[in-house]
Symmetry: D3
Subunit: 326 residues, 6 copies
């Protein structure tokens, strides 16, 4: 029923072995009549797999079920990083989520950002941009809301988060220059994100939860009118912007967490340790929770060094408290 | 009560930046009177953390509780790889578990093997050598028995495996030249191993299970006479030597397992898929179970390539069936 | 008779091993009285050898024969890349042909571009900037015309191309921000380029054709009045800007071209294949010509991956048709 | 008519990212009744493509035409290097053509050699092992004869070379320890080789010549009785073992050959030069032919350094003179 | 007596192994009542150790002796490079001393510069920023004055240089865009620097001279009223901006200096040679002094290549001559 | 008067970029009639420059002054490492001083060792093999005696050490398998070594001392009968084999030595510290002398890690005490 067309674009990424190399970013446009234009996107960081697999699944199945509006599917928006399985782009080391600088593009990563600003963001009203912990972190599956002020469409964010169907929602104040949410905000595009799983691995069940969440969002946005909406009545909100939410390693060592994702901890509770098995004379260093709350994020790599994020912990708030935050 | 002494040794590992560099392998000798000499060892592969953390814990606590015999603790036997967090030795790329060649040592890794053959193996009667899935694999926590024939001490292996306390036991025929079990066999040393967890991460609870297992083995071997033995009555044995036990990737892609560690699967059941989100025209490739059984081992990295081990699956056997195997 | 002076300049390219390192770009200024100032340049990409060798030859011989005007010789304008034999600058990975950004220079490559914009482009009226296929491509020897609009000096380009003496001429619309032709256009400098040979190798005969072409251009520009001009009456023009001119690899494999440079092919003709000898179960993928025309450019590396340019193919047009193109 | 079976084998090649990684070497066994067993092999060096593509072609077509005997096809015997496109194995830097050491295998490359010595060489009577110039050299298409003394089967080598059908034949005394020809000689296996093309590229026509040569050899060996033999009556023999046959670079520079493959040169003739475009004050260094003869091999990379082979030049001899050589 | 507080800041430096990695730059603020605010800083290049060690020493001892004003201590301002022991930042290859571009920060190095411009420079009146030869150079211990014009506070520079207590002072015209001195000048901050020692090593005595110099500067600036000032009456000034002051290598080779730091040489005196022991036919190349003067700086690495700074040599001038220079 | 001939040899060192690459080791044979055959050698480690420069100097001057016997000069015996400026061979990471294994050569480094055992050691009676601290260490200029037992020619070692003319002499028991001294001992070749300077740099005056020492040895061995012998009457002997002679780093940090080469220290005297400027909360770690004696060797790199040699310190003994040592 829906009309399908490819809108792939490509960006130059020359190497010494390939003078005119271009990386193709696959894009599928699915048109099903009147209604808003929405982009579903994953792979801003190439090592975040849940969203990539879920959107690839929709690439094959959404054309058969979309009822209204237009959907752009971008399963691997940083295609070069996805093919390499890395957070950053291999050809220039760029972080696509810091490359929306609004300046002449230097290199491949900024070219992808520029193409999205020129071709995609002006054509859509809403964007769901799925992230994950990637190679180095592991998240409690959560939707993510980033606010840049008191924009009119912000009022729609709690509903969209509920439609995504995960029992947790993370809140960030938009503050990183050059980020994808900043670009969406500049273009007046309603944007929800998510953090689902992580580590270098994923699983079929996490991919399914992600796909269901994306379908839920399309339903909430009016593109799947007949589909029942998964309304999670009790979403817990975690404000991860507070400096106390993040515990970082302060020196090299092997990270042994003593708690699990989703566990509740007290302030100053011992939640793990840093050890060094090859130097048994080095005392183990205890890690204590910087504040009371739930473990929302955990480092997925034991061998760590100073500055690495080990834990993100925040108290659970009602989702309604979002309206008072910015 | 026990006497403690350091028996560290070091091996040359010169680099362009350090002409006389030596890597120190920490060893603690704990003597508690008559009784067998036993080594507890981890870090043959530097990225396998459970045993390293558990033996580091015993480094501090075992001297206070050991009652008989002698224990050598080697928490990070490939210390260079442990400090780097890698399976292989950074200085020469060597795999310590293939370096027991009985030839003049070339480079650091073979020097460590030679030192163990010269200094440790002749002095002990038993060895527990803890492994794990490491960075690339994830194991159902299991003890591991490797047999090199019908040695008299093999009869003691089921008891040792029961004392380790894990509900699973993996069986291998000893076949890899230059391995640590081959060296132990040459020296007539009774050896149990284990595969506990994996991925690049670990957790406090896995470390505790490993430490309890090591203490159980010491008890079984008679060094902790007062300690109650954790006798797991129903250990399931998995023979992972059968070629059908291992499913490997046949081409590059992103591995999405559809089953979990410990799950039972039928032969030819679909158990996952390989996808390529950045190339949506590439068909997903279904992965089917090569035989009926339990998922004992799973690749911990989504981005995979041909030859990577994705699954190990084997039917559960009674532990007693071990006696008929070699 | 001509006056010779060195106008070398250098650009900072510090490394961890050399704090004040500067790369010197050799420049020879040859003055022979009144007449236009012309620069002959090669090595914008360090792995393109024909022009570099030809201009090095002129470095020794042109002072003895130049009769009018001023010539600047830059045999290796990206000297660092030339010494490394790479397309991109080793110190910062930059592509000099994308570094004319008109912004404060970040790093060595942009510094070279800035120096050329400050020191060379304001002093010349014409520029011949020789390229080649470099390590990864192989071109049918061709002059190259890039147009940025309908500039008055564009009318002189066909004559200059004829004077270069090669039977082929490639046409590009100027579209790449930061390129050398864009910078020349900004400075009102008449510019001809060429693509001669390629692969990682070259030959004495290609170098001679390039040197003769450069002398032909100087003759056409009035600097060698006595020298007979090599006027090629039948230059074929190839428009390589059309998307259909370029065939790229769509997945990894070994590229086996079935046609040769200069060969005429029909649209949809089978012109090669991608194979994978180590995976004989992978079907070979046939490559078909995207349009009818002549094979003007061919990838010089068998092992290829998605996005690599494999062929450039375009129909031959009369050179006069250039005037109607932009 | 012929019976086909897979005889793939695999060798361990663990990395930090893949603990149990094995590289599969594809082998096809084609049985067509009584007659000798012959192996056709390519990819000892992973960057030599003509033989790999030709044997892959036979993989699909030979089963339909083989009439007698048994053929083993190994299109990519160093499968890891073929997939990487490199001469040496990526995992351990090994050169498979120096890995037949008859000692316990250290690492992947020696494991492949050991598997060939254990599984293939004892089962065959003849071997055609196709090489090429690879990434760094370019050869005049030639068969290659290596002699290890005055073996009885040596008398069959000229006939086999004629059957391969190329107008040139290269002669080497077998002298490199650990080489494939040395292993074949130890096992009493008649062995012909070839050097066809090179550079990092190849072409369909070179692949065809290689495939035809392999079929010619099978015919000469009696496996294709009905097929007419391509008997080249005037094969020229080139002895490349004489030290004077090889001219090497003596210092870094850019290599500009002044002659072409197949060209005849006089002794001390100027045949090229080494230049340095980025340092125009460095004098060009003339290269002169070390002896009179034909240019049989040429370096395929302009940027060179001391010790690199630039030319192989030898006088043409009648093929019959082979009998007097060892 | 003085009040101490931490003013550490951190900058994002994500890698593929650590998504949210931040590098912390340690800052100590010591307040001792009224008086100017002064920053003491080292480690702009991570491999320059004298200042880093001296300021780390003051970190522990200055709070006990500071009498007036406010001091900010930044012992390792490019903390990432200090931990790696490199001149440039490991994560992005940036040179912090060229990163003060006043543009939106791209990457870690520019983020550190931006943080210093936002947080430190507006709060201080004076800055002593200690450098050294780093890994590749060795300096005669010298204070350094960089002038950007005829600023009013320039008159205080000779006094500050005398207070630093070293017998040599180097003069530079400020010319490098994006440098720390340029940023200080933009903010109206009086700035003295120093070049003390170098090579990859340092010594306790050089560290002490640096610490005494820093205390001398604080005294001169009025923050240590009771402390006697080390007034060196006869400081020699060296203008290293003259092109003739620097001798660079012109080709690869092994650098053998024939003179020592601090030695006086005549113009055109032979002061060393470049040799190539592995190529004894290559003639040694004599190095001659470009002008008469004192050897102020010497390359600390024998193996060198073109563009590497080998010597800086300048005639000694009276410090008073500084006033006439810009 | 003396006859000069080149005896260069070359060893295969293929790379992916150069299939037949061979590294040439330059050797000059100088014959001046009857008398012993002596080799002077440097560059076993490519980053040790004093001996390389001194022997290169003798290459040009010794033929004019040699009066008796035969001298082989090998200025850069690991030519590949010398050209790279590294201790270890770049192509295979080998340490030439551990490559004399008497087994079939694997790779370039063992090939050089094999060639020396086959071609050089059988032809000479004495060898002076000059070493240095190399990139990572700095030595008090010393001759070096390594003993493998009570060989008859050992009695000549003190005289040879005196003839070398340096005031210090280091003593080692020969214990490293595969070393150059072990190979010399196997061949019955009298061998003296030296350790002169170090760091990545050298100086003309150190080179001269080395050259004079080599001439002194030739005099002592009877090849320069007319030349006065530099007999240093009071050479101090340092036994560096005692474990207490070497102090190593035990953890990462920046090494600040508090003493200088040649300085006398007491046992347990504080001789330096390890600090970490970027982590000011990490306490400095004091380094104390492991025994009383003279500082004979010092690490030349501040940034250090566990296992790096920081100091070698030993008490001065009379040279005559050597006879009682083995």
């Amino acid at each position: 029923m829906a009309t399908v067309s490819r809108e792939d674009f490509s960006c130059a990424a020359a190497t010494n072995e390939s003078a005119y190399r271009r990386v193709t970013v696959p894009v599928l446009k699915i048109e099903a009549g009147p209604g808003p234009a929405v982009a579903l996107m994953a792979g801003v960081h190439g090592d975040e797999w849940e969203g990539q697999a879920a959107i690839l699944d929709l690439w094959h199945h959404l054309p058969g079920i979309l009822q209204r509006g237009t959907v752009y599917l971008l399963p691997a928006v940083n295609a070069e990083a996805s093919l390499a399985g890395t957070r950053l782009s291999p050809s220039d080391g760029g972080n696509l989520n810091r490359a929306f600088l609004g300046q002449p593009a230097r290199g491949y990563t900024e070219s992808v950002a520029a193409a999205l600003e020129a071709r995609l963001l002006p054509r859509i009203q809403a964007l769901v941009d799925v992230h994950s912990g990637g190679a180095s972190l592991r998240y409690l599956p959560s939707s993510v809301i980033t606010r840049y002020g008191d924009d009119p469409y912000d009022a729609r964010l709690p509903g969209l988060a509920r439609a995504f169907g995960l029992p947790q929602c993370i809140y960030f104040r938009g503050s990183e220059a050059g980020s994808m949410p900043a670009a969406a905000s500049r273009h007046g595009v309603l944007r929800l994100s998510a953090e689902i799983g992580g580590g270098r691995e994923t699983s079929g069940s996490l991919v399914e939860r992600c796909r269901d969440g994306l379908l839920g969002c399309l339903g909430e946005l009016g593109l799947l009118p007949g589909r029942p909406l998964p309304r999670n009545p009790e979403i817990r909100l975690y404000d991860l912007d507070a400096p106390a939410a993040t515990l970082r390693a302060r020196e090299p060592g092997v990270f042994i967490p003593g708690v699990e994702l989703g566990q509740s901890v007290a302030a100053h509770q011992r939640i793990g340790q840093m050890i060094e098995p090859a130097r048994p004379d080095t005392p183990a260093r205890a890690l204590v929770s910087p504040q009371a709350g739930t473990v929302v994020c955990l480092r997925a790599i034991a061998r760590s060094s100073d500055g690495d994020c080990l834990f993100q912990i925040a108290p659970a708030l009602p989702l309604d408290s979002l309206s008072s935050r910015y």
